[in-house]
Amino acid sequence: MRRGNLLLIHSFVLVGFGLAAQVIIPQDDFAPGWKSSGRPSTFIKADLFNHIDGGAELFLEYGFDKLLVQRFARGKSELTLDVYEMESPESALGIYLTKCGQETPVAGIRARNSGEKSQLTILKSKYFVYVNNFDGDAKNLPAMVALANKALESIPEVPFDGWLEQLPKEGQVDHSQRLIRGPVALQPFFTFGDGDILELRGKIFGMLANYRGEGNAVYARLIIPYPVQKQALSVYENLRANLDPYLKILSTRANGFVFVDFKQKYGVVELIGSKLDIRFNLTSVPKS
C-alpha cells in the first residue's frame, strides 16, 4: 500500500441515524515526526477477542460493531489509535463510563475524555476511542492529543438521548452514573441472580448511580425502563422467583419486595409501570 502524506480513509457507515459518515484515520504528520506503522487492523464481532481476549464480552454486550486499530511510530516511541464503532451513542457512552475510571480530562481534546500520559479514553457520538502510549513517556502527550483531535475531526456530532437524565438528581453522587446493558456491565456492582436475570439482552439500557442516604451512607439505584409493562412484570416475577441464593427476601409489598444481602445490607425491588426501580446496598430496611 502506498503511503505518504495522504490520509487513508476507512469508512465506518453510520447506521440508525439516517446519515453516513467516515472516520478518517490520520496516517502521517499529525504531529512532527510521527508516521503510521504498518497497515490498520480491523476487528468485527466474531474476532474481537483476538484484540482484547477476556475483554470482548463487555463491548459485545454494549453493542459493538467494528474496531479499527492503527499504530504510529516516531523513533522508538509508539502510539496506537483504537476506534470502536458502537451501535449507538448510548452504547458508546455505556462503554466509556465503564472504562474511563475517575474522569481526568486532558486539556485540548475536542470531545469528552479522560486520560493521562499512557492512555486517552475518548467519547464522541457512537465512537469510543483509545489513544495508547505504551512506553508511558509524558513527552508523547502532545502527539497523543493531536492524534486524537485529528481522528475526532471526521466524527460527526449526533443527537444524544439523555438516558441518564431519568435518574433522580437529589442525593446523587457525582460521577457515579453508569449505563447497564447486561450482566457483564452489572457484574462489578451487584449480583441479582444467574445469567441475564434482568433480561436486558444487550438491548435494554438500565441507568445506575450511587446516592447518599441516611447518615450520608451511599447506596445504589438502578432504574430499568422496559418497552412494555408486560415485559417488566415478567422480569420482576422471574427475578423474585430466581433471586440470587446469597440474597434473602425479607418482605413483600404490593409492587415489590425487600431483601437482605450477604453483608447484611438491604435492597428493594419495585415494579412501577414498565420500570423496575431497584435500590441496593442500603444500610437499613427501606421504608415503604
Binding site: 504498518g38 497497515r39 487492523s41 480491523t42 476487528f43 464481532k45 466474531a46 474476532d47 477477542f49 483476538n50 484484540h51 482484547i52 481476549d53 477476556g54 475483554g55 464480552e57 463487555l58 459485545l60 454486550e61 454494549y62 453493542g63 496506537t80 483504537d82 472504562k99 475510571g101 475517575q102 486520560g115 493521562e116 500520559k117 499512557s118 492512555q119 495508547n132 505504551f134 512506553d135 508511558g136 447486561g182 450482566p183 457483564v184 457484574q187 462489578p188 456492582f189 451487584f190 449480583t191 441472580g193 444467574d194 445469567g195 441475564d196 436475570i197 433480561e199 439482552r201 444487550g202 438491548k203 422471574n238 430466581n242 440470587d244 441464593p245 446469597y246 444481602d261 450477604f262 453483608k263
Partner: protein
C-alpha cells in the same frame, strides 16, 4: 507495552459468611455458581432470556480426581499459608531494584518454609528436576512478571544444583514471552518456551495469508506441542473459524495440556502478577489454569472461574506445581486482564505460597480493599470466590479461616 494481561496471623474473610456459604453449597450442589453468572448470557445477541440458571457444562474433572496424590501434590507442604513481603524501594520510577527484590525473595521463602534459602530448596526439588517457571507476559513491561523476580528464582534454583538447561521459562504464547523480555539473550542457557505460536498479523486482519500458522492439512503448526493424551474436556465447542484456530490451536471440546508440561517439566513454579479481571482476579490460579492448555476462549463464558480450579486439579499440574509467587511490584486494580496504565500502582509486594488457592483468596481480599479505596465499584457477592472454596472441597487448597496470612 504492546496491547495484546507485619508478622500477624489473621483470618481472611472479614465478613461472617457462614450462613451464605451454606446457601451456596446447597444451591450449587457443592460446586461453582459464579461462572455461570459471569458469562452465561448471549452478549449482544437476540438470545431468549433465561428464566432458570443454565446448566453447567459437563467436564472430565472426575478423571483427574481418580488419580492418587503424591507427596508434591497441591496444596503442597504449607496449605493455607501465604507470606506477604513488602519493600518500598522494590520498584521506583519504572525501575525494579534487583538487590531489594532478591532480598524480598529470600525473606519470603524463609518465612514460608521456616528454613533458610538453601534448605528450602530441598522441600521442593531434586537436582535432576526440570523446572518450569510460568510467567505472565500479558501487558509486557507494564504489568507483566518482572524479570528481576525470575532472576531471583533462577539464582535460587542454580544454587540448589539445577542445571541451567533444566530451567525453562514458559508461557502459552511465544511472542508474548519475547515482548515481555524473556529472550535467550537475557537468559543465556535457560530455556524459553511458548507452548504455541500465533500469527499476529493474521489475527489482526492485516493479512489473509495464513500459511505461517496453518498447514495445508488444516492443522495448526503448534498442534504437536500439545499432548492429545492429557486433556481437560468440557462439553463446550470451540468456534470453527480460522481466527479462533490461529489463537487456540484446536477448536473442539478438548483443551490439551502442553507437551512441555506432560513430557518435560518435573516441577513448576507459577509467577503471576497482581491484577484484576473484571470483578474477579487474574492471578495464580488463572495464570496456570488458562496458561497450561489450549482452546480456552470457549471456556470463558460458561466455566470462567471453574477452569482456575479444574485444570490445576489434573496431575500434570497438581503434582508438579510446587511454588507460587505473585508479583505485586506493580499491581493493577481495574481494567484487567489487559494492562491499563492508569489503573496500575506501585504495590512493591511479593506473595509466596505453595497453595495457589489460599494465595488467590488473600490477594482477592487485598484487591477488593484497593478497589474500594480507589472508588471502583466492587461486587462482594461470595460467588466471585466460590471457586476457591470449591478447591478446598477438592482438597487442593485451604481458603477458609484457617488461612495463615503472614506479613513478613
Amino acid at each position: 507495552m504492546k496491547k495484546r494481561g507485619y508478622g500477624s496471623l489473621e483470618p481472611e474473610n472479614e465478613v461472617d459468611r457462614r450462613q451464605f456459604l451454606k446457601i451456596g453449597g446447597a444451591a450449587g450442589a457443592g460446586w461453582i455458581l459464579g461462572n455461570r453468572f459471569l458469562w452465561s448470557h448471549e452478549a449482544g445477541q437476540d438470545a431468549p432470556a433465561q428464566k432458570t440458571p443454565p446448566p453447567r457444562p459437563k467436564t472430565n474433572l472426575e478423571d483427574a480426581l481418580k488419580v492418587p496424590k503424591t507427596k508434591y501434590s497441591l496444596p503442597g507442604p504449607f496449605p493455607g499459608k501465604v507470606v506477604e513481603v513488602h519493600h518500598p524501594d522494590a520498584m521506583k520510577d519504572e525501575k525494579p531494584n534487583p538487590e531489594v527484590i532478591k532480598a524480598m525473595f529470600e525473606k519470603g521463602m524463609t518465612r514460608l518454609t521456616d528454613k533458610n534459602l538453601k534448605a528450602s530448596f530441598g522441600l521442593f526439588f531434586e537436582k535432576d528436576d526440570v523446572v518450569g517457571i510460568k510467567v505472565n507476559p500479558v501487558g509486557p513491561g507494564l504489568i507483566s512478571t518482572r524479570l528481576e523476580v525470575v532472576d531471583a528464582l533462577i539464582a535460587w534454583l542454580l544454587a540448589g544444583g539445577i542445571k541451567r538447561p533444566n530451567i525453562i521459562i514458559w508461557d502459552r504464547f511465544d511472542y508474548m514471552l519475547r515482548d515481555a523480555g524473556y529472550t535467550a539473550e537475557r537468559y543465556p542457557g535457560i530455556g524459553i518456551e511458548g507452548l504455541q505460536t500465533m500469527d499476529e498479523a493474521a489475527a489482526e486482519g492485516k493479512t489473509q495469508d495464513n500459511s505461517r500458522w496453518l498447514r495445508p492439512d488444516g492443522s495448526h503448526v503448534s498442534a504437536e506441542n500439545f499432548d492429545k493424551d492429557v486433556f481437560y474436556w468440557a462439553d463446550v465447542e470451540g468456534p470453527k473459524d480460522l481466527p479462533y484456530l490461529n489463537q487456540h490451536v484446536f477448536n473442539g471440546k478438548y483443551s490439551y495440556f502442553g507437551r512441555l508440561l506432560t513430557k518435560k517439566l518435573t516441577k513448576i513454579i507459577n509467577v503471576p502478577v497482581f491484577k484484576n479481571t473484571g470483578n474477579a482476579i487474574s492471578m495464580a490460579t488463572k495464570n496456570i489454569g488458562y496458561g497450561a492448555v489450549c482452546n480456552t476462549n470457549r471456556l470463558h463464558r460458561p466455566l470462567f472461574l471453574d477452569v482456575c480450579v479444574e485444570v490445576p486439579a489434573f496431575p500434570v499440574l497438581r503434582d508438579k506445581l510446587v511454588l507460587n509467587i505473585t508479583d505485586g511490584l506493580r499491581a493493577q486494580y481495574d481494567g484487567g486482564p489487559d494492562g491499563v496504565a492508569k489503573f496500575t500502582y506501585y504495590f512493591n509486594t511479593l506473595f509466596f505460597a505453595t497453595d495457589p488457592f489460599a494465595l488467590d483468596m488473600v490477594c482477592h481480599n487485598i484487591l477488593v480493599q484497593k478497589r474500594k479505596s480507589m472508588n471502583v465499584p466492587v461486587n462482594e457477592n461470595p460467588r466471585f470466590t466460590e471457586y476457591l472454596r470449591s478447591a478446598q472441597k477438592l482438597g487442593l487448597g485451604v481458603v477458609d479461616d484457617k488461612i495463615q496470612h503472614i506479613r513478613a
